[in-house]
């Protein structure tokens, strides 16, 4: 793994807030299937995520990791099975979709900041128009989150003027401004130069410490070891194996998992 993610391991982690509630189900996926045309991309996915749980999804490229988490806020539509997020079942009912999206934040590989808006406007747009927060209050909250991701001084700049790592931290702050209950990360560090990976992972770790429910697609195995309650391995649209990080890395059960780990851990 990259040096950056190894370095993160040095840090002492505050496990205090990281207890998982055993009663509140955040996400329930039952027998979910999805096709792109004829291509069966997700097969019989079953997954239950508890509130406060932090899950890392790993697997080879094209195994359906992105598609799975994109189904959770319905950027992709599943065709069979059930998907219940925060007690709301996702169907073609647009009102429910919007309801779920308000509660689920998402961070993309390529940041997807709005290039024509300042950083502050990027952060306040959704709170103002979706939550109806007054502008002054939204800006105050935005500044608070910018401080949390350690770039308050960039508030008036445009995304194009920031480094990749800074942009990704802004993207995380932008999602947090909606006070989501669940955060989804789709390879948040894989478009970054190595020296910027660490600053983003640190923000994600502090988010984990605050008790956020997180699902992260990532190849940062250092991060997985340190923060995840559970690592899920996917291949060819199926969940092949899942386990606590220690067991997952030291004692993988399936051949495909072993092969994948041997490739990714050198």
């Amino acid at each position: 793994m990259s040096q950056a993610s190894e370095a993160v391991i040095d840090r002492d982690i505050d496990r205090h807030n990281m207890q998982v509630s055993s009663t509140d189900v955040a996400i329930e996926i039952i027998n979910m299937n999805k096709w792109f045309g004829d291509f069966h991309v997700l097969r019989d996915i079953n997954l239950r995520v508890m509130s406060g749980e932090r899950i890392v999804i790993a697997g080879p490229s094209g195994s359906g990791k992105s598609t799975l988490i994109r189904c959770i806020n319905r950027l992709e539509e599943h065709q069979k099975g059930q998907l219940i997020v925060q007690g709301t079942e996702l169907t073609s009912d647009l009102k429910r979709v919007d309801e779920v999206r308000r509660e689920v934040g998402m961070v993309f590989q390529h940041f997807n900041l709005f290039p024509h808006l300042t950083i502050l406007q990027n952060l306040t747009l959704a709170p103002i128009w979706v939550r109806g927060v007054p502008k002054a209050q939204a800006e105050e909250m935005a500044m608070m989150y910018l401080e949390r991701v350690k770039i308050p001084e960039q508030a008036q700049k445009f995304p194009g003027q920031l480094s990749g790592g800074q942009q990704q931290r802004v993207a995380i702050a932008r999602s947090l401004c909606m006070s989501p209950k669940i955060m989804l990360f789709d390879e948040p560090t894989s478009a970054l130069d190595p020296e910027m990976v660490k600053e983003v992972l640190e923000v994600m770790i502090s988010l984990a410490e605050s008790g956020m429910t997180m699902i992260c697609v990532t190849h940062e195995m250092g991060f997985a070891r340190q923060v995840a309650n559970r690592v899920i391995f996917m291949d060819q649209g199926q969940i092949i194996e899942q386990n606590e990080p220690e067991a997952f890395f030291s004692n993988p059960q399936h051949e495909r998992t072993k092969l994948f780990l041997s490739q990714i851990l050198h």
Binding site: N73, A126, Q161
Partner: protein
């Protein structure tokens, strides 16, 4: 320090560059005579100017009859442009058949329009929202009431009497202002996932784009009344307005669609994942970026719309070109260069408006491009 023998304490003033690397001669050499080819082109260009400028000068200025001149002066042999004729008939070119006693009404409209439009186009002036409300909502009502009359003790002036530049500006402004939102809706509709909306938009766009504007105007003025119930008429100017607007909105839709395609899927998805609904995503994220990409195309449409308004003359509306055309039959000013002067004047007026639009769009592009380039 000790080994430093001498340090100069005052700066040496910078001298002008040697004359071979700057100054007039160097400029000439660099820009006009850099190579054999360049020199040749320069000479050809100079010859062309020497050939073209003197006759143009004598036609437009040297032998021309200035404003205030008489018809007799314009009838002299080998006379230049008859500006006196333009000056004498300029009211007709601006107002058409609008009653002379009521000229203050179009004048008020012109003044009010300029007063509202200039601050709207000038980025640094505040109160844009109020300004836009006044210009797009209040102003059209005021224009209609003022020009049409029949209310508040204003003498009614039917639209048949409106004419000249007044009508040209009305048609082009209405066309420009209405075709943008219509074009946006059509472009969005064409991308819609709902098959009915998509099909309707595609049909509309392809239908209007495939028909010449003249045909549209003819149909609106000749066919439409046939389908209307007996005794019911739709104002001729209104029909032209609707025809021009729908026609140009189809073109606008295609330009805007080009802009929409330049916006990556990630922008839509980021908006969606934040809980913004369809119209918020479009309004705050996609359209501001998409429209910015296609400003040149949009303004190009504006310019051709402005010039295309001259086609309304064939359905009997007296726009700027048509009044000028009609005035050439004025025997009081019959003179060898009467018609030519009129058309040159028309060309000049169209050019001023179109050139201003073009310059303004360049200025806007440059302004919007600073700061947040990807």
């Amino acid at each position: 320090m000790s080994e430093t023998a001498y340090v100069r304490t005052e700066m040496v003033p910078s001298l002008p560059a040697p004359s071979r690397s700057s100054g007039f001669v160097a400029w000439l050499r660099k820009n006009l005579f850099a190579s054999v080819g360049d020199t040749l082109l320069t000479l050809v260009g100079a010859a062309f100017l020497i050939w073209a400028i003197p006759p143009l000068y004598s036609f437009f200025i040297g032998n021309a009859v200035p404003p205030g001149g008489t018809v007799e002066q314009c009838r002299v042999e080998s006379v230049g442009a008859c500006w006196a004729y333009i000056a004498a008939r300029v009211n007709f070119f601006i107002y058409g058949f609008y009653p002379i006693s009521e000229y203050w009404r179009p004048n008020t409209v012109f003044a009010l329009g300029a007063l509202l439009l200039i601050p709207l186009l000038w980025p640094r002036i505040p109160f844009k929202r109020l300004n836009a409300l006044l210009f797009f909502v209040v102003f059209p009502v005021v224009v209609y009431v003022l020009l049409n009359g029949g209310m508040f003790g204003l003498r009614p002036v039917p639209t048949e009497q409106w004419g000249g530049l007044l009508v040209t500006l009305i048609i082009s402004l209405v066309g420009i202002i209405c075709s943008i939102p219509l074009g946006i809706l059509l472009a969005l509709g064409r991308q819609s996932k709902l098959p009915i909306i998509k099909t309707l938009c595609v049909l509309f766009i392809e239908l209007w784009r495939a028909v010449p504007l003249i045909t549209v105007l003819f149909m609106a003025s000749i066919m439409l009344p046939l389908f209307m119930p007996q005794g019911m008429t739709v104002d001729k100017l209104l029909r032209a307005l609707v025809g021009v607007t729908l026609f140009s909105s189809a073109y606008m839709a295609e330009v805007i669609r080009g802009g929409l395609q330049a916006i990556g899927r990630g922008q839509y998805e980021a908006g969606a994942s934040l809980g913004l609904n369809y119209w918020q995503r479009m309004g705050f994220i996609v359209l501001p970026q998409a429209l910015k990409h296609v400003i040149p195309g949009i303004v190009n449409n504006f310019i051709s719309l402005f010039k295309d308004t001259s086609l309304v003359s064939i359905v009997g509306i007296f726009d700027l070109l048509n009044t000028i055309q009609a005035a050439t039959a004025d025997i009081n000013w019959a003179a060898p260069t009467q018609a030519v002067t009129g058309y040159v004047f028309a060309a000049a007026v169209y050019w001023v408006f179109c050139f201003s639009m073009s310059r303004y769009s360049l200025y806007m592009e440059r302004r919007l491009n600073t700061g947040h380039k990807r």
